[in-house]
Symmetry: C2
Subunit: 245 residues, 2 copies
């Protein structure tokens, strides 16, 4: 769990929930800096989700684990449709807000998912949260934990973004920089900043479908299908329906 001074993301969620207009800043380890797409997205209603996220969510079945639940956007939607949902997040601010909004949210790192009780039928990793597997190296442990707490026919609805759907030099040069240091091109190392708060630097992986297959290969999981519609020719965003191999 992040401490108060580290929980920049949670403070953004909490302040937006309180009616303010926080601006979340993302810093990348090559010196690039920018603002996130906006705290409002963490609270977006289903109608305002991307087309691929709307299409993918229809594949949720049974008891659901929402990994990186944030403000509860996805978990609350599924709960309203009758699913039993547990959300986990390392951000105390996010846990506080999603609980306040009615989600059973727990303060837990994705890497510790095996500590959860009971069995889940669906894992949602929305808002690009497949990225929470970290890197190609750390993914097997996290995906193993998710395998341990899920049923045999469970699925992961894994949202990510093909990092190569850009020709912006700031980003394509970052992909090269990553490859030179033995990482996948879209293996982001970032931190979130807000006022005087800054999260520790963390790994957040963006992958093409081919790379997702590579990341899943040493795990219990495989890429069953890329959900249509996807934005692989545009923004690069897509949802992968991941099943046990």
């Amino acid at each position: 769990m992040l401490d108060e001074r580290e929980d920049a993301y949670g403070a953004v969620v909490r302040d937006h929930h309180a009616g303010e207009e926080p601006v979340e800043i993302i810093e990348r380890d090559d010196g690039w800096i920018g603002v996130s797409a906006g705290a409002g997205l963490y609270f977006a209603e289903y109608e305002d989700w991307s087309g691929h996220e709307r299409a993918g969510i229809d594949r949720a079945e049974g008891r659901v684990l929402d990994v990186g639940c944030g403000a509860g956007r996805v978990g609350l939607y599924l709960q309203d449709r009758g699913h039993e949902v547990v959300g986990i997040d390392v951000s105390p601010g996010a846990v506080e807000v999603s609980r306040d909004r009615g989600l059973d949210a727990r303060g837990l790192d994705a890497a510790d998912a095996r500590d959860l009780d009971g069995e889940f039928d669906t894992v949602v990793m929305y808002g690009n949260n497949f990225g929470l597997v970290g890197t190609r190296a750390t993914a097997p442990r996290i995906l193993g934990g998710l395998a341990a707490v899920t049923s045999d026919d469970a699925r992961i609805l894994a949202a990510t973004r093909d990092p190569y759907a850009t020709d912006e030099p700031a980003h394509t040069e970052y992909h090269d920089f990553n490859r030179e240091r033995g990482r996948l091109g879209g293996a982001l190392r970032i931190r979130t900043r807000y006022g005087r708060r800054a999260t520790p630097w963390f790994d957040y992986l963006m992958v093409s479908p081919a790379e997702m297959r590579e990341v899943l290969a040493p795990t219990a999981w495989e890429l069953h299908e890329v959900v249509e519609p996807n934005a692989l020719d545009g923004s690069g965003g897509y949802v992968a329906d991941v099943r046990k191999a």
Copy 2:
């Protein structure tokens, strides 16, 4: 002059001028980070200036030096009203844009103002650009340079913000931090970031009227009058009419 990779501010000005919507990030040396009030302000028409800036500009006389001219907002306004105006800025991007908009802009640091030819009757330091004097320690040299290129009855129209017009702990604690290291409370040390560009860290001074008097004391200048209306009870913004002592 800043080099291309350092000219974050100039890239923001240039991209806004090109019709984009750049977001400029300001980082302070206590770890605080946030976004600037917006690139649009650098291009604001007179009608959208603050009340104190509108009131202060009526005091401009004769030949004008616009220090930190940015996108040319103030210099172009005065030029349109018949003044001969020279703008200076350390940002190549700002110089490029303000020249493109019709201002005689030069790539020059405020500290090198004495290199300018001819005599000025008015110096404008708008958009809080009194801050370009840096610190209490560096101010005499910069203000001395401005004294050297101005007429005997010249004035500086110095915009700044009383830094104490806030009860936000992030800011009041920064004032304490500054005093502990022998600086005025509002002696900001900041840098501007945009994408992969970052300016060097620089000093940018915000002062109350009493502190401005203290900063001016060892110079050829004195605070003649705080222009009404001022926002000393609100945002803290004000324009000082500074004359030779």
